[in-house]
């Protein structure tokens, strides 16, 4: 049964956006790119759904990456992920707009919403997809099986929007088109009569124990810290900023930090909002793991250190002198 035949499905292709409050996640750009490609091949509108307590600022980048329309649902209750609200709201919107396809990122929350939505509405569902294509007016979903040795092509046996989750970092995305703009449609959050999940309390992760790959702020140490004792300076700044401590391979090899704190080619790849590189020269093996940080502050005595080439703020100074002052001022400015 093709989407057209069941008479209720429109040619809208939906992407449910993932964001970290003030920025759209990369995976959403990948999904928009894929929807854009499908729309180009067979017509249709690419629509993004943005849910959160303050998502209007995200509309611009969603448009740049391919959304024609953005459904904006802003509500204080959507600040943290609550599957009851998200499933009910997206499901309600779908029942009004009848999209042909609803794409979620196969992340923890995206997969959760996708499965709940498809199950609740009894819509066709394919998890962990890597590709989509048109076949005779219908959308087929492609997902790897058996350890990526086989690809299953999944068609739909029942009517309704095709719901799919997409594996991040597979599709890639094109450069944004800064000239694009999107129509904004505001919608209200839908509170379901019956909650399937009781949402209790949200407890922020302890930056000291948080997986460094998920940290918003990373204060990282390099060989230039000089000694294990000086690592306390890095710990102090991280504590004031509410950030995690990371380091280079050499610092880990020296036993100044545990292996899971290593950033770089053979460690973690981090994309924090702020990366403070302390005494790090910036060998490619390290910068590979942090070059996508939104803001990079580098402190190093060597003016020729390669880290300065990618830093937004370069401080040619001794870390042992700068860090205590920086920590004190951050504390006075209202840090933790």
């Amino acid at each position: 049964m093709t989407p057209q035949e069941n008479g209720r499905v429109t040619s809208e292709l939906w992407v449910v956006a993932e964001h970290s409050g003030d920025a759209v996640d990369r995976v959403t750009f990948e999904l928009l790119g894929e929807a854009r490609r499908l729309a180009k091949e067979a017509g249709g509108q690419v629509c993004a759904v943005a849910l959160g307590d303050h998502v209007t600022p995200l509309v611009e980048s969603l448009a740049h990456y391919g959304a024609d329309t953005v459904y904006v649902v802003e509500d204080e209750r959507l600040r943290y992920y609550d599957p009851n609200l998200v499933v009910a709201t997206v499901g309600h919107l779908c029942s009004i707009r009848h999209p042909a396809l609803v794409l979620f990122a196969a992340t923890t929350t995206g997969s959760d919403t996708a499965i709940r939505l498809a199950l609740e509405r009894q819509w066709p569902f394919a998890p962990g997809c890597v590709n989509f294509h048109w076949n005779d007016g219908d959308i087929e979903m492609v997902r790897p099986m058996a350890g990526q040795k086989l690809h299953a092509i999944i068609g739909a046996a029942r009517p309704g929007p095709r719901v799919a989750s997409v594996v991040p970092d597979v599709l890639g995305f094109d450069a944004p088109d800064k000239k694009r703009s999107a129509r904004v449609v505001s919608a209200e959050v839908v509170v379901p009569e019956r909650s399937r999940v009781d949402v209790g309390e949200f407890i922020p992760g302890d930056p000291r124990t948080l997986d460094i790959a998920h940290a918003d702020i990373v204060v990282a140490a390099g060989r230039g810290m000089g000694s294990k004792e000086n690592m306390q300076l890095v710990e102090d700044l991280a504590a004031v900023l509410g950030g995690s401590v990371g380091g280079t391979r050499v610092v880990v090899d020296l036993g100044w930090l545990p292996r899971e704190r290593q950033v770089g080619q053979t460690g973690a790849v981090v994309k924090p909002k702020l990366y403070v590189a302390c005494g790090i020269s910036g060998a490619t093996q390290h910068t590979i793991g942090m070059r996508d940080a939104a803001t990079i502050i580098a402190i190093n005595t060597d003016a020729g250190a390669p880290i300065f080439k990618i830093a937004d703020l370069a401080l040619q100074a001794d870390v042992t002198e700068v860090l205590p002052v920086l920590t004190r001022q951050c504390r006075q400015a209202g840090g933790r």
């Binding site: 350890g147 990526q148 040795k149 970092d169 890639g172 060989r223 000089g226 000694s227 391979r249 050499v250 090899d253 020296l254 292996r259 290593q262 080619q265 053979t266 460690g267 790849v269 020269s281 910036g282 060998a283 490619t284 093996q285 910068t287 590979i288 390669p306």
Partner: protein
């Protein structure tokens, strides 16, 4: 003068002679059955397409050299001498015994006169040499006890050989005492024993009885020994020469090709690697049976030296033990239960084990086979997964966008121009920058040095720029054969599009893959490493050097993929020596015994997290030469040395470390314009 000869079966009654022949037959029967069972177990293995009968003369020549002069064993002088003594002693005594058998059991008659005298002298001499060799062996195995031979089961073999040697001389002494001989000078060993026996003053009856008893001990031990060969480590006398004879004559730096992408695309169902014991090829099975447990591989292994969970000796012995105990069960044990994942990832594919192995076992292929299975099933470290994904998506292991491949060329000195290859445009060489040269900030500086010196030598060269992709070395060595072949195919298409014939590479890994692994996929080019090319430029006078500002001492670190995998040892040393003011110092482990930096076999791209740091070990060795400069020729060695230098304690105490520089940088700096 009566004819000079010796008595055969003297003092042995005819009935006892019959028993002797019956025992001989039984012994040979047991030997044959044991050996045939071994052969059957090799022959039921999978085919090995690399080993073909062409090049037979070369094969025979190699076989003769390896078996009779044992150059690989002689790399380790003390044990090499020990083995040569036992080998040649045993071989000559074996031939001598067969000569006696021919004389006695065939119509031939030659064992007399001068021939007999010379044979006597030679046999005595080699008998003594064998006993000396056995003495060294016992001393090594039970007194010195080097770690590498720990756990070996050679006791019984040594006991057999020593008993045979000693009873042989006793017999000769008895024979000479009983029958008398005018030819003592030609049997010095026997003469000494005979003198001792005479001095003991035994009466003739006791003497005859002692001789007969010794004769029987010698005979029974001989036949037991022969029968036992297929069941003891003495088997190596058969398997080692066989394994050497069937050595695959292919460039050393190549891995096996388990399948071809074209087969896969044609819809064939393929096995990516041997997955269970039964999948091992006949050659791998023979290899495992050929292992002599000498441990030279383990002693050379950087993984072992840094307490990683890998001994190349253990993995081969584990394969053999599993074959021994698998019985007729169809051998379903997964290979990864025999060679563990941790062992396979510990390997840097530096080839030290294979270069050291006296019987030409190919350890790396066993280890990479395990990686192939793990990678196929996605059971890899996240950093390995990232590296493979980067290779797939961006064509380089770092994950940089391919359009940034020429970023390194910004900031070149004035007058140095890097051009992209054009179809039909004649250039002297194509400069293969490699992913490190293109993206790694440190290696970019080396790339600029290479481009500068090419330019200053007047070499017209081009680069592929954004069209260059990783050669596939890390993919292949991480066990992702399909991805390697895709990359190879893409690169070959690009190279052929521009009619490339001659390539200079910056990276020994690119060099090895382009030179040795691409021909199988249709890419045939003349590939040289920058060190070789620079040496030629110096030798032909295209680069000249002025008076240096100061003397500098340099120690050169052999990259495994330039050295052991490709035997490029002299070019880099010649290039450095040609520079005025350079004093070359060697580390203790150099050339074919060079010690890996720790990054090979794609270890550059993941953190094993086990054992100590290989690079710290090597950096310390380099510092001990007192050289001011450590010269490398590989971007990965460079990274490993930089890390080791950065992590060394000396860094904070202000002690003089050493500069770490690529050979191209050192040469480029010395050029006078």
């Amino acid at each position: 003068m009566h004819d000079v000869t010796r008595e055969i079966f003297g003092n042995i009654p005819a009935t006892q002679q019959t028993w002797f022949y019956l025992l001989a037959c039984a012994s040979l029967l047991v030997f044959a059955v044991g050996l045939l069972r071994r052969i059957a177990r090799w022959m039921s293995g999978a085919a090995d397409v690399r080993i073909v009968t062409r090049e037979l003369p070369r094969r025979i020549a190699y076989f003769l050299e390896q078996v009779f002069t044992q150059p690989r064993l002689r790399r380790e002088p003390s044990s090499g001498l020990m083995h040569l003594l036992i080998f040649w002693g045993f071989l000559i005594l074996f031939v001598g015994t067969e000569l006696v058998a021919l004389e006695h059991d065939t119509p031939l008659s030659f064992y007399h006169g001068l021939f007999y005298l010379v044979a006597s002298l030679v046999l005595d001499a080699f008998g003594i040499l064998m006993l000396v060799g056995l003495g060294i062996a016992v001393h090594r195995r039970y007194v010195v006890r080097p770690e590498r031979i720990a756990g070996g089961s050679y006791g019984i073999v040594l006991a057999f050989l020593a008993t045979l040697g000693v009873t042989g001389f006793l017999l000769e002494g008895f024979r000479m005492t009983l029958r008398g001989s005018y030819w003592f000078d030609w049997s010095p060993g026997g003469a000494v024993v005979a003198a001792l026996i005479q001095a003991s003053g035994l009466d003739p009856v006791t003497l005859a009885l002692s001789h007969r008893c010794t004769w029987w001990v010698h005979a029974v031990v001989t036949f037991t020994f022969i029968a036992s060969i297929p069941f003891t480590r003495m088997l190596h006398a058969i398997t080692a020469p066989l394994n050497i004879f069937f050595v695959p004559f292919q460039p050393k730096g190549t891995l096996t090709t388990p399948f071809r992408l074209e087969q896969l695309e044609a819809g064939a169902t393929l096995r990516v690697a041997p997955r269970v014991l039964a999948d091992l090829s006949w050659k791998q099975r023979l290899s495992a049976d050929a292992c002599t447990e000498c441990g030279l591989c383990q002693q050379a292994c950087p993984a072992w030296a840094s307490q990683r969970p890998l001994s190349p000796k253990r993995i081969i012995l584990a394969v053999r033990t599993h074959m021994d105990h698998a019985g007729g069960s169809g051998w379903p044990t997964p290979l990864e239960k025999i060679i563990t994942p941790a062992e396979s990832w510990s390997c840097t594919t530096c080839r030290a084990c294979m270069e050291a192995c006296p019987v030409a076992i190919e350890h790396i292929d066993f280890l990479v086979d395990v990686r192939r299975t793990l990678t196929e099933q996605g059971r890899v470290d996240p950093n390995i997964a990232t590296t493979l994904r980067n290779l797939r998506r961006t064509g380089n292991p770092f994950g940089f966008p391919p359009e940034q491949r020429l970023v390194w060329a910004s900031g070149l000195p004035a007058g140095v121009c890097v051009e992209r290859a054009q179809p039909g445009a004649e250039v002297e060489v194509l400069y293969w920058v490699g992913c490190a040269g293109a993206f790694d900030e440190r290696a970019q500086r080396v790339a600029r040095a290479v481009a500068s010196l090419l330019s200053r030598a007047g070499v017209k060269f081009a680069v592929l720029g954004p069209e260059e992709r990783c050669t596939g070395d890390p993919a292949r060595r991480l066990g992702e054969e399909g991805l390697f072949q895709q990359l190879a195919r893409d690169n070959i298409a690009t190279l052929d599009k521009y009619g490339v014939r001659r390539i200079v590479t910056q990276c020994p890994h690119c060099f090895n893959t382009l030179k040795n692994e691409y021909p199988e996929f249709g890419g045939r080019y003349e590939v040289v490493h920058h060190t070789e090319f620079i040496r030629t430029l110096i030798a032909t006078g295209r680069l000249s050097f002025g008076t240096p500002p100061a003397q500098q001492s340099v120690t050169y670190h052999d990259s495994c993929y330039l050295g052991r995998h490709n035997d490029v040892y002299d070019a880099p040393r010649a290039a450095l020596s040609a520079l005025p003011g350079v004093e070359l110092r060697e580390m203790p482990r150099h050339r074919d015994k060079g010690f890996c930096c720790g990054a090979g076999g794609a270890n550059m791209w993941f953190e094993l997290g086990l054992g100590t740091k290989i690079n710290a070990n090597r950096y310390a060795e380099a510092l001990r030469t007192g050289a001011q400069v450590i010269a490398t020729a590989c971007p990965f060695c460079m990274t490993m040395f930089d890390d080791a230098a950065s992590g060394s304690a000396a860094r904070d105490t202000g002690e003089a470390g050493a500069q770490i520089r690529d050979l191209a940088e050192i040469v480029n700096e010395a050029i006078t314009v």
